[in-house]
Amino acid sequence: MGITSSKQLLEMHKECKATFEKYPKKVIVCCGTGCIANGARKIVEAFQAALAERKIKDFSIEAVKETGCHGFCEQGPLVVIEPHGTFYTHVKPKDVEAIVEKSIAGGEVIEPLLYTNPVTGNKVERYQDVSFFTHQHRIALRNLGKIAAHDIRDYIAVGGYQGLAKVLTSMTPDQVIDLIADSGLRGRGGGGFPAGKKWRTCRNVESDVRYVICNGDEGDPGAFMDRSMMEGDPHSVLEGMMIAAFAVGAKNGYIYVREEYPLAVIHLQKAIQDCEKHGLLGDNILGTNFSFRIRINRGAGAFVCGESSALMRSVAGEVGEPRAKYIHSVIKGLWDKPTVLNNVETYANVPIIAMNGPEWFKSIGVKNNSGTKVFSLVGKVRNTGLIEVAMGTTLREIIYDIGGGMLDGRPFKAVQTGGPSGGCLPAPQLDLPVDFDSLTAVGSMMGSGGMIVMDDKTCMVDVARYFLHFLVSESCGKCVPCREGLYQLHELTERVCTGEATEADLEKMEKLSEVVITASLCGLGKSGPNPLMSTIKYFRDEYLTHIREKRCPAAVCKKLITYTVIEEKCTGCMACITACAYNAITGERKKPHFIHQEKCEKCGACVAVCKPDAILVE
């Protein structure tokens, strides 16, 4: 039955809340993509099997929640027992019976399943006390790991769609735009354009039709924030879009989801259907004059479609080539109609801003950068995963307090933000506050929120080459500076990696980068040389070592390194001989082995199997 007024919605909220809180105990099984890959579905089945026969006071199978991503994917599958917050990591199906008996029925803690703090080596009992979580400030991710992702009743139970109800029943579209503008919400997709300003421009264009689009084409390699939000809390995204649609006067909305995210599509589809069933999408929503529908478009694997004008062409079923934006897409966008395009995280912030007001949002973060930002903290840190921090948090706090410091205790070298459009920042920048303006000032950018930490074993030339290679294959080819310029930059960087470059090449790279930045048509080309420029700026010495000494200090560039056996360390176990696919290693048992350089392909297989660490790569 549909909900036809905000009063009915409030009643449903009360009813859903009562169901949600019926059992004081809850078992939360993380079912984000990471945990599912690690076997979370089997854990849920094991709980169902274990609880089918077993009666426990104050508990039932309904209180086992399959939630969205907690962000701590590396430790998955994760199980949390509420209300205490007992936090179990790496749970296996065979552990479930013990969890049911001891932790749920008995209230005991199973020590071996607890998380071990990698810095202190101590076990941590409660979710709230894990340093990965304590330093976070969760707004956009507010419901992830709390409610069942596919259940609209859970979302309504925690106050879902109340923001929409408030907006529809007590505000005018202009007031909504003022509210978002006052809050200082900036687009979380990368550029940081003020959302309120965008909405106002769209509303002020003379037109009978307007569109709202959600950009879920999270193409930056190394970033998975939007994926987790679409999978784990699809209703927040839908509610944000609805509020935007009301504000700008749109009747139709589109969510463009990346091809690689099938689970996100399933959960969004379910969420849209549930909304239609409950009258939250369709005609006369909550008994008002507001009508709105949302359709999902799956991307087809093109990075450039993250660019607004390319994305809009792709939604229209065309080749996703960007166009010159003398006229912005907010004025002439999808099918040449005024279109508001924001990304997933931006929309997820909207409902809670509508509820709590702009002052509340501005109180979080720093000046001109209100609120929080979600990052995917990955690479060579101890705790990898999805995090959300207030704007202005320093890189050091993120990497050391939340990330637990560097993996294997190796030295920090750089952190890459902003994906292929961003840059690499060195150790002296660790105390930089993370916000849109500070990052841009030092030659990187916020981007959508990838944060990749690198140690001394990461070659910065190789990183630049990696991003250029990516961009060359993703450049749509429409404009020459991007198509040819990035190609040449990649060739030149490749030459540095193989030791064939000269110092003159380095200057050529810098000059060409400027041309590509100045003359490219869209953001892909305009920001494409950033990874290269920033690494040359901060790690020039490393480039020079490759060029002058023909040496890769991080031992990554294959043409410049050799693998040799350290005879004193080699125990003669023959493991590397078996591992080597190229028959490049010979030797007898219990005698030091030998690597034949002419056969060695530098694939790293021997290093991976060598227990005494007897293979030197330099």
């Binding site: 990471g34 690690n38 590396e74 970033a223 690689e260 478009n297 991307g299 079923g317 996703g320 690198m454």
Partner: protein, 152 residues
């Protein structure tokens, strides 16, 4: 290669033969046949009343589409930034070597295809290899071969 084209009318009908649904139609065709057969592209052009050249340009622009049949088992190696930093190239070496195939190729017996993908969004478990939709995280070079040998 001759194909059973009887699935196509159903796919066209599901998308009401709208030209703006071209990408979604091609996605459905690819799901059905695991690639885009030439005849299916011709039928699509006819059904949507758009030039074949337009269908072809969309089919070749997007990475998700393949004009060549894929193997029975598809091994996808993630080479996103997080995976790259944690040694995806070494994993790729091992898998290519184990299957005697290069990324982007399909074996002559149609058993295996290797693909590299720019990021599958499972960065916290890097490096990641996906064998027939099954995700494998924290893959080590020494364990990479086992992932593909298991399905042979």
């Amino acid at each position: 290669m001759k194909h059973d084209l009887s699935h196509l009318p159903g796919i066209f009908a599901r998308h009401q033969q709208k030209p703006e649904a071209l990408i979604m139609i091609l996605q459905d065709i690819q799901k059905e046949y695991r690639y885009l057969p030439c005849e299916a592209l011709q039928e699509t052009a006819k059904a949507l009343h758009v030039p074949l050249s337009k269908v072809f340009s969309v089919a070749t622009f997007y990475n998700a589409f393949s004009l060549h049949p894929k193997g029975k088992n598809v091994v996808r190696i993630c080479v996103g930034t997080a995976c790259h930093i944690r040694g995806a190239a070494l994993i790729q070496d091992q898998i290519e070597n184990a299957l005697s195939l290069k990324a982007g190729q399909t074996s002559a017996d149609m058993q295996f295809s290797i693909e590299v993908v720019a990021c599958v969004g499972a960065c916290a478990m890097a490096p990641v290899v996906i064998v027939n939709e099954q995700y494998h995280g924290s893959v080590k070079p020494s364990g990479a071969k086992r992932l593909v040998k298991g399905v042979q």
